[in-house]
Structure formats: structure tokens, C-alpha cells
Amino acid sequence: MNNLTLRESIKKGLIEALESDPNVFLMGEDIGEYNGAYAVTSGLLKQFGPKRIIDTPISESVILGTGIGSAATGLRPIIEIMTINFLLLAFDQLINHAAKLRYMSNGQLEVPLVLRTVTGGGAQLGATHSQSFEGWLASVPGLKVVCPSTPKDALGLFRTSMKQKDPVVFAEHALLYGVRGDVPDKFYEIPFGKADIKRPGNKVTIISYSGMVRTCIQASEFLSKNFNFECEVIDLRTLRPLDFETIIKSVKKTGRAVVVEEAWKTGGFGANISETIQLEAFDYLDSPVIRIASEDVPAPYNRKLELDTMPSEQKIVTAIKQNFSI
């Protein structure tokens, strides 16, 4: 067992992919000479050379388009878009092209590319640098969306991403890069569409993903310690494909559900989960499904204001206490 940060575990996955297949290459802004904006690709240019580790101009559309064209002709690109906010500049390539080519060509083309990007807020980066769009992306047929919350999951899911024959958006939360966790030495993979129960419980099911999983676990520990109230925390791990089975099974057991996400509440991905719970487990519910998400405002710069817009341990605890009469 290794104790790695999430950054180190993803880097381990990148190195494995580069070593195992000469058609794998990394492409993105500042991934080489600069060693990566979030230092995930640190040292890789030196190790693998400029043919495999490719610095690009700040041109998100053509970075992604180059990934699409090369993936469609037999290469295995790993594309880094520095943050999910900048991915907006390449939405045409991602949504209109990468996600559609297999279907529109009736299977003649496939786009096996892994798009790594950084998501989430909470670092006082202001309104344009603090967004979480993985829920949007998960609504697009043709894409797969991965949101790991631990170093172990990140490596296992990355290995699975590299085996896909379709475009994968691999969203890494900026505030998780330094988080440590145990990562098995023995080779393992984590399948897509398989949620993980990060904390077992019997009173309420909390469903979340990415950076918010930690917050949900903290809130659950607080409720356990102070009120002897045990929450079950489900980490979705992949938003598309989505593991409804694990969610429904848990809600049937607990009778209560809280969906927590960092994205804005209006139109958020959690609404999709909430709808399915009410359809599939209506008779088991003791109360309405609660959604906790970011406030519908652009992320402010000021620390107090920003924290106030986001879901927090306290907000989750308060919501559970109020709604479930603890």
C-alpha cells in the first residue's frame, strides 16, 4: 500500500499509460516545460520527451480538435484542458464533434480520448475560475464523465478511462490534489457506473461526488458523534454512466435522501438523481428528497462570501437536522 496524494496517483496513471503504449501522448497548455499548472505532469517532459509530452498554444478548440482527429485515426491522446472553465472555449469540439462522431458516422469513427480537466471552486479564484460543469457534460450522450474523490479511485478510474473507446471527461477537483490516501500496490481498476459507499449508515443516504464527498463525510461524522445519527455517504465516482442501483438500494434502506453537489442548484445534476429516487423509491421515502448545492450566484472573490455560496459541513448538518427532526 502506498500513501499518495491525488496528484501523485493521477501522475502514476499517466506514466503507466505512456509506458504501455507508444501511441499515448499528452497534450495541453503548460504541461511540459512549466510542469503543469497543477503540477500533475511535473517531470514528464524530461522522462518522455517532446514527442509524447506536447506543450500547445492557448487554443482550447484546436487542442481538443487535435485530440479528436488523432484519436479517430488510431492514437490515444490524453488532453489536458487547464480548467473546466476554459473548456467552454472548446465546447464546439467536445459537444458537437467528440460526442457525436461515432453516432453520426454510424460507428465508422470512434474518439477514444481522455480529456483531463480541473473542476471546482473554493480557492478564491473568482467567478470565471471556480465553476463545476461536469454535471452539464454528463447530460450529453456520447460522453463519459468521471469525478474521483480519492487517490485510490482516481488511479483506478483513470486506468479504466484509458480502456474506453469513447471520449472521457476526467474531472479532477483542484482542492483534492493535495489530499492523501492509500493506493494499493497491486494492480486494480475501478469500473465506470459503479458508485462507492464511502461511509455506511442507516438513517439517511447522502449522494455526492468529487470535492463534496469529503464535506459529506465530515458532516456525517459530526452527526454520528453528536446525535448518534448514521448517514450513508455514496460517492457516485462517474456521472455518466450513473449507478442508480446503488443509490436506490441505499435509499430503500434509509428512507431518506440528500443530494449534495458543488454546481449551481438550478438545473443541477442532483435534480436528475432526485427525480429518479422519487420514481424508483417513492414508497420507501419518509420525507422529500433534499438537494444541497451552490447558491445561484457567480462565485464571489471574497473568502467569506465564496464559502457562503457553497455547500458546507454546517449546511449539510443543518439541513439534515431540520428536515429529519433530529
Partner: protein, 320 residues
């Protein structure tokens, strides 16, 4: 140009013309739906350029793609079936007029977002270079695409990395219904835009297939020598509207008539006769053959079944 190639190009141009005339007719009858952009008037560009490619070269294009597909040798039966949304179509009815693909011929689509094919063209060129395949990418674009950000990102990258791409700008003067003079800050001679990216460029008469063929041949040789991309502007004109839904209110009928006097097929036919490459009798024979081929493609498409409802969810992902 070799004589056999000359005649083949002539046949090909006629095929595009007749195919598109029938496509227009079938659209009016309701057999073809959706957006449908005819290539009539621009045949010299597809025929002149694509005839210079080898099997391992790639083509990627925009939504006015029927002509390019036929020039690449995709069977008109399958193209017509796709236009009618049938199961024998190039994408079994899932693509439609604007999304024709035949990967076995390295025809990488029909892309319907203006400028969207350019970044992917860079990927094809990158791949060819990475794998040391020596394939050239022929990337078509219209004058409207020149004002998209994707155009500028792509030209910069193609030049920076010396990607083996021939950008072929089909300047038919109108981005949908707006004249280039209203949309280009640099005015006419769009090809000069490539100067700012250090890409060698040229302008050709896109109504003259011999000129297009010669310029393409020379450009491809240069690209294969490893010097990087070339940008070629072909001045041309579409005789029909932007799409079948276009009332053509933005241009005068006299302008269309003037361009029609310069019909690329009639011009080429005259050249072939004057050079004694072909005589009237042979022309008639070729026209009969082309008519028959187009008729057969229509009959084939009409008889092709609709795709099965069960195919709806196929090819969203692999193995699903």
C-alpha cells in the same frame, strides 16, 4: 494531366451536377428533408483537388459535402440513401446530408458547424506526422469559416507544427446570405490571411478545373516534402441558394446569370473538344452513363429500407 484522368474528372463533375439536380428535385418532392446544401456551380473545386489525392490521404469538409463525397468515389447509391435517411446510407440514416462519412476512403466527414472541421483536420495531420505515414489532409472550408476562432487557432497550430494540410477555401462569396465584403475586415483576397500565419498561400479560379488540379498537384508535392501546410483559395460560386430553404433574396438574378456564363462544366467540355480529347459522341455517351448512374442511385435509395427502430441507441457508445 493524363488523358484518362481528364475524362474521369469530366465524368465526375457531370455526376456531381446531375446528382445535385436530382437531389434538389427530390427535396422539393419531400423525399429528402432537413438542411440540404447543393454543390451546383462549385464542381471544379472538388474534382480538381480530390483527383490529386492518394488512397492514404484524408479529406475533411463542411456541410456542403455531397460533391466532395462523390469526387472521392463514394458510391452515389449510398450517398443518396443517406440523403433519404435510409439504412443503406453512408451512416445508415443517422448522419444526413451534412454528415457524410466513409472512413474506408478516409473521407472523415461532413461537419456541419462552421469552422468545426478545422481543429479536427489538425488532428488528422498531427496523426499522420506522429505515425510517419506521409498522408496529406485536404481540408475544405467556406468563406464563412474564416471569421470563426477555430479557423485562426487551426491555422496557427498547423503552421507552428508544420502539419501536412492543404486548406482549400471555397470562396463562393456568401456566408449563407451575407457577402464577404460585409464580413471580412481585410476585404477580398482572403488567401492573404494565411501570410500572418506564415503559411504559403495562393488563389485559383475555382471555376477552372485544370487550374485547380494543377495548383493542387503542386501544393501536395510541396506539403509531402515536409514544409507544412498550404492555403489555397478557390474563387467559385454556387448557382443555387445556400440551402434548399434559401429564397436567395440577397443577390440579383443577373449576378447568378453572369456566373453561370462561366459554368465550370461547360468550360471544361469546350476545352476537351477544342483539344480533341473527346468528341460530341463521347460526351453524349458519358452523359447517358451519368444519368443512368444517378437514376440507379435514386432507385436504390428509394428501395432501401428505413433503419430499424432498434438501431436508435446503437453507436452512441461502443458496444451499447
Amino acid at each position: 494531366m493524363e488523358q484518362s484522368k481528364t475524362i474521369q474528372i469530366y465524368e465526375n463533375m457531370l455526376l456531381m451536377r446531375r446528382f445535385e439536380e436530382e437531389t434538389g428535385r427530390l427535396y422539393m418532392e419531400g423525399a429528402i428533408r432537413g438542411f440540404c446544401h447543393l454543390y451546383i456551380g462549385e464542381e471544379a473545386v472538388a474534382a480538381g483537388t480530390i483527383s490529386c489525392l492518394s488512397e492514404k490521404d484524408y479529406i475533411i469538409t463542411h456541410y456542403r459535402d455531397h460533391g466532395h463525397a462523390l469526387a472521392r468515389g463514394i458510391d452515389p447509391k449510398n450517398v443518396m440513401s443517406e440523403l433519404m435517411g435510409k439504412s443503406d446510407g453512408t451512416s445508415a440514416g443517422k448522419g444526413g446530408s451534412m454528415h457524410i462519412f466513409d472512413v474506408s476512403k478516409r473521407f472523415m466527414g461532413g461537419h456541419a458547424i462552421v469552422g468545426g472541421q478545422l481543429p479536427i483536420a489538425c488532428g488528422l495531420g498531427f496523426s499522420s506526422k506522429y505515425k510517419e505515414e506521409d498522408s496529406v489532409v485536404l481540408c475544405f472550408l467556406g468563406d464563412g469559416a474564416v471569421n470563426e476562432g477555430e479557423f485562426h487557432e487551426s491555422l496557427n497550430l498547423a503552421s507552428l507544427w508544420k502539419l501536412p494540410i492543404l486548406f482549400c477555401l471555397e470562396n463562393n462569396l456568401y456566408g449563407m446570405g451575407t457577402h464577404v465584403n460585409k464580413t471580412r475586415s481585410s476585404g477580398e483576397n482572403i488567401y492573404k490571411i494565411a501570410d500572418s500565419y506564415n503559411i504559403p498561400s495562393l488563389q485559383v479560379d475555382g471555376m477552372d478545373v485544370i487550374e485547380v488540379e494543377k495548383a493542387t498537384q503542386e501544393s501536395i508535392e510541396k506539403i509531402k516534402s515536409g514544409q507544412g501546410p498550404i492555403f489555397m483559395e478557390a474563387l467559385c460560386y454556387r448557382f443555387r441558394g445556400h440551402s434548399m430553404a434559401d429564397p436567395s433574396s440577397y443577390r440579383k438574378s443577373q449576378e447568378v446569370k453572369n456566373w453561370q456564363k462561366n459554368d465550370p462544366i461547360i468550360k471544361f467540355e469546350r476545352f476537351l473538344i477544342n483539344q480533341n480529347i473527346i468528341d460530341q459522341k463521347q460526351i453524349l455517351k458519358i452523359k447517358e452513363n451519368v444519368d443512368s448512374e444517378v437514376e440507379k442511385s435514386i432507385e436504390f435509395a428509394q428501395n432501401s429500407p428505413d433503419p430499424k427502430i432498434e438501431s436508435l441507441f446503437e453507436n452512441v457508445y461502443k458496444n451499447e
